[in-house]
Symmetry: C2
Subunit: 396 residues, 2 copies
């Protein structure tokens, strides 16, 4: 039988990152590629204790169907935390639990976009989000980033040229893959443009709690007096990625439709882990735990940056993140990305090619993404050395 | 701000059943409405033991990102079980883990249908599936059921009239809500029509293992020599609904695209529970556990049917299921569904109005769905008595 796949999925391929992730089962390869959090960031002992308590005391609640919006005590705990720590959430907003921040992004697109509608994205941007929009038949329009965030004059041009733009997708804090953080001024410009053109902002903030340097900058959602920001957060980088628990705070009118869309995707998020996270937030010292993760990444990013500094002669450029998981490297002129990726892989180093993050899949790139989150200190040193050796080899 | 919701979601409302489920927090209401499995069907002790083992021995595997297709040992275990017990899965098929059978249905539609394409559905049918198709902008064409399954002459008419039909959605075994099981002959006719018109069958079989009476009938997927059946199964009714674990067996070419669609919905299904289910299947006596659930539902359905038999004078008609969770009741002429639902609710009995299961949301119904799975024996007796009292009151 000849299968006629839907137009929106026919041309889509599995995420390059997930595919690379699969190849990382070879332990001899140094993995600068995956976006995984450090395993040390999982509070295993607390989770084990709470997990046992749930099976002992509330097994039916944890194993039976639950409501789509999320386990009510967890919804309340998330709501309170967002309000008290980040000034997020106004009277017109609601909060729900989703199956990872990824689901929030996908639901936002499905809820706001017809096939052919435009999502304006930072370019480069998170491949999982770009593919989520593609899978809903949305058209991506990329706007370049500079060191301060999205280029707002080009953003305004894109808004003018695309009257069917429904969302502006942004990762303002510790950008994936670009490693930059949008300045406060640029956030205000972005917010005002969205308001002026009547387009919702989709703010993706999975790394926001992982600042290890510099000053906190308010989220776009905390500025949202007009009900124009859909905010997606996640516990993946501060508790566990494998449990798939994230949250969305958005204007209730939009959120209600996102709930309907979620209901038909997975009915609700795993109930046992929703109860577990609720207990964790209420009983454990979450802030101290996060401080520990920040310290870990502060140390590892600092090591990676100081090793990268040794490569100055090669002409390699790289960002200096103040938080999150990623460093974005740009190759010196004359070295092609393809040849670099191959050279590094032949030396057992995996990085993610910048092409994976382009809004236009056929566009070229001279950049690649690396992470310090999962490699050991030894691997960080050896991996950066391989980057240097590969550059030297290719500039011969 | 005025929010422009996408066309496909603008008119959608939360599932009536999920909404009723929310109202069931009042313990004085007898719940014949929810589709929840009996809490006795959760093997809590085994899950507790395996769960503790995982936190002790494989915490990182359970808490870290995993691959979209599913935890490989679980995929293998499901594949083997499908093949050995149900003769499901050929060389051209693949198997993946999804976040509940619901996700499989949604992914199948997203993968096969453009907006405006047709999904042919049994009428009535499972509301969660119908809404999943609506949320993807598919058009529903309903074909009536009789006691033997879908009316195949009307199905052929629908196939002729809808050249853009991409899926035939069917629940052949212990139908939700209709409580009937499609005969072997009717299954063959359905299969042959799908083949003739080049339309894929989407076979939904969440209750297939819950036969408590009569003879097993082969699934459509077990007949699938042509690669035209997408099969969705679930652990919700035999292990736990709240963990959200189901599976799909489908031709690999289609399944690969469903994986891409799943990747952008939730990256992967909760990893901890995938490991847990894998251990459960390998270490525990799953068949004996299922036999226990069958015995439970055999007893409870038998009690409900014998109580319903006492209402023969009222003119109420009802199906006699051989498995699954549901009985479908049809009101005597002259009694409106609305007035019956209200009368029953005023007497503290919740049932699901048949209108919820119609492909055409504006179509009327003279039927309602009840379940014996969660109510106690006492509640079954009292609830059926309320049905009788309500009918008597309304026929005055």
């Amino acid at each position: 039988m000849e299968y006629k796949i839907s137009d929106k999925l026919a041309s889509m391929k599995p995420s390059a990152i997930r595919e690379i992730f699969k190849s990382l089962t070879d332990p001899s390869i140094i993995a600068f590629a995956a976006g995984n959090p450090a395993p040390e960031s999982f509070p295993v002992d607390d989770m084990k204790r709470i997990g046992a308590w749930i099976f002992e005391n509330e097994p039916v609640k944890a194993l039976q169907y639950s409501i789509t919006e999320g386990y009510p005590p967890l919804v309340e705990a998330v709501k309170a935390r967002l309000k008290n720590k980040f000034n997020i959430g106004r009277d017109f907003d609601g909060t729900i639990i989703v199956s990872g921040g990824q689901q929030g992004l996908e639901l936002a697109c499905k809820t706001m976009c017809n096939e052919g509608d435009v999502v304006i994205c930072e370019n480069p941007s998170f491949i999982g989000a770009l593919n989520a929009y593609r899978s809903n038949g949305a058209k991506l329009v990329g706007v370049p980033l500079d060191d301060d965030g999205i280029d707002t004059s080009l953003l305004e041009k894109a808004l003018k040229e695309n009257p069917n733009a429904k969302l502006i997708y942004t990762i303002p804090t510790f950008h994936n893959p670009a490693g930059i953080t949008t300045t406060l001024e640029r956030r205000r410009e972005l917010y005002n443009l969205a308001k002026k053109y009547g387009v919702l902002i989709l703010e993706d903030n999975p790394y926001g709690e992982l600042r290890f340097k510099g000053e906190e900058i308010p989220t776009l959602k905390s500025m949202d007096e007009d009900g124009i920001v859909i905010y997606c957060g996640s516990f993946s980088k501060v508790l566990s990625a494998g449990m798939r628990i994230g949250f969305v705070c958005a204007p209730s009118e939009v959120l209600q439709k996102m709930v309907v869309a979620k209901q038909v995707e997975d009915v609700h998020t795993n109930a046992y882990f929703q109860i577990l996270v609720d207990h964790y937030i209420r009983e454990c010292d979450f802030d101290a735990h996060i401080e520990g993760i920040r310290a870990l990444y502060r140390e590892k990013s600092s090591l990676m940056l100081s090793e990268l500094d040794k490569l100055k002669d090669t002409g390699l450029k790289f960002t200096r993140p103040e938080g999150g998981l990623f460093i974005w490297c740009t190759l010196p002129k004359g070295i092609s990305l393809d040849s670099f990726i191959k050279e590094a892989m032949s030396r057992k180093l995996a990085v993610v090619p910048g092409t994976a993050f382009n809004c236009d899949v056929s566009a070229p790139s001279d950049s690649f993404r690396i992470t310090y989150s999962t490699p050991s200190e030894d691997e960080i040193v050896r991996g950066v050395r391989i980057i240097g050796e590969s550059l030297k080899e290719l500039s011969k």
